[in-house]
Subunit: 307 residues, 2 copies
């Protein structure tokens, strides 16, 4: 899957992933009203609203971007109907040729980790039948439980040609509470980075990059520089650009000299761009998808400027 | 919720939680056949099988135990129908007076962590309506992202009278890869433990225990002893008893002198007990729930023997 991601990045010239993290407050009123009109102010109504919102965003941006990253929490909060919307979002994005990174941050051990890998990347056996489930292309994984938690994902990645991005250094202010603590004089996130390189070493694609990538926040470029060297074959998924304070010039250390190696996420900055765009967008929010497209173009140019 | 958990523990005399982690291979053939007969070898069929299996276990054990712990991964692997089975399992267990600990190990930041807390413990706002979602009583939380990830859960716990158990030291062999690394001469899990005590300090129930508990594996009793002192007011959820190798005598350090402070999980040891019990169980698995009940009684006696 890493090869397909890189192919998509090359084709679009945009190392960008759009975070599909739709809060109801990001969904224009006319979409919410239509959904609530059909299903009431229910979980079904909310799920329909975010699905229709996503479809608009995907339609408006799919030719410009290599990938989307739905954040499952935003769907899970609407219960079972929300998970239906998640599944339909994944399917719809894949039908448009996008790589889908499920931002699920799952992590457990043994058979439980296997079940998560099955749910999001693999196939589950039911009687004599083997069934795909949510079937994202890549998912994010939490490393706190160590190799026991990660290995079942590696197995599914090998079998299905899928990928994972492991949390190494997250973009939030309190990420340092544990991740930065010094172990033998080096921060914990470096040790996690070394493990990422090790876990990924048997899953190198034709591109030379591994199916095992990592997450390193844009808000810590100095750390990004060190981690880039520790995991030269791992793609870095970089959150924190835009709304969280990371700027384009902070991004350079995350890339390798081949201009590859990093993909930058923006969620709010794209999908809620319409709230700050009075030129394209009507008062009821119509035109929100055009505003998202314009925000992607601006982000692409912003990032191109650093090379 | 911690007060209700303690009340249930006192009432039953059993500091035991039954892990509802149903693999299809744990479900007796006659239940699978009935479910597949109705829904086919589909995700719906699998979900129906595990739901009916769970109902049998709950009916057979609810008077003996304070709580159940469904492991969401085992439901998520059956997709949307699996999440329906998860929700119905939570509802059914609550209807029997059990405290439901959702073993979800979620962890993210800011609004995403809020969404997870909403999904599992809180209420989501849809238009003018505030709706409960999966509505467990307590959930497990991953601490790798620091306070930013935990605080949204604390807010929901305070508003809804719910609880969380934060992963401190997990029961698996590779848990030491990161959790045991020494920071200023002390293992990382101790620092996490100190944070747990801090996060829980404003959420103390009438029992004197906090809504913020922790997870410490039964497989590390020496570490349990130290952590018990670091977090005197936190309940410890102890996995790893039985199938993972922890024995009853290993459990004493996890309890306080009041005989409270810990609740021991067993999953396979209870729900798959029928596979080793040829006296009660028929060849097709009928009697599996009686075998689970017998395993709970044996576990209760085993643990009572340590005091």
């Amino acid at each position: 899957m890493i090869d397909k991601l890189i192919e998509n990045i090359r084709k679009t010239g945009a190392p960008i992933v759009v975070g599909l993290d739709p809060m109801l407050s990001y969904v224009p009123e006319y979409i919410r009203e239509r959904a609530f009109g059909e299903y009431g102010e229910t979980l079904d109504g909310a799920a329909e609203a975010i699905l229709q919102f996503n479809i608009g965003i995907i339609d408006a941006t799919a030719d410009l971007i290599p990938a989307v990253k739905p954040q499952v929490a935003m769907y899970e909060q609407f219960g079972v109907p929300g998970m239906v919307a998640f599944q339909k979002t994944v399917e719809y994005a894949k039908s448009k040729g996008l790589v889908v990174i499920g931002d699920v941050k799952r992590g457990d051990i043994g058979s439980t980790s296997e079940a998560y890998a099955t749910a999001h990347l693999g196939r589950v056996q039911v009687g004599n039948v083997s069934l795909k489930v949510f079937d994202e292309d890549i998912v994010t994984v939490n490393p706190y439980l160590g190799s026991d938690g990660v290995k079942p994902f590696l197995k599914v990645c090998a079998a299905e040609g899928k990928g994972i991005f492991i949390l190494v250094k997250t973009s939030n202010p309190s990420s340092g509470e544990f991740q930065d603590r010094l172990v033998d004089g080096r921060p914990l996130y470096e040790l996690v980075g070394e493990k990422v390189a090790e876990w990924g070493s048997d899953l190198i694609g034709e591109s030379g990059y591994s199916e095992v990538g990592c997450v390193v926040g844009a808000t810590y470029p100095e750390m990004g520089k060190v981690l880039r060297k520790i995991m030269p074959k791992s793609y870095i998924l970089v959150p924190g650009y835009g709304a969280q304070g990371g700027t384009a010039k902070d991004l350079l250390p995350y890339f390798n000299e081949d201009g590859l190696g990093a993909i930058v996420n923006s969620s709010r900055g794209i999908i809620a761009a319409w709230k700050k765009d009075e030129k394209i967008v009507a008062e009821n929010g119509a035109g929100y998808a055009d505003a998202a497209r314009a925000a992607v173009v601006a982000m692409r140019e912003d990032i191109a400027g650093i090379f």
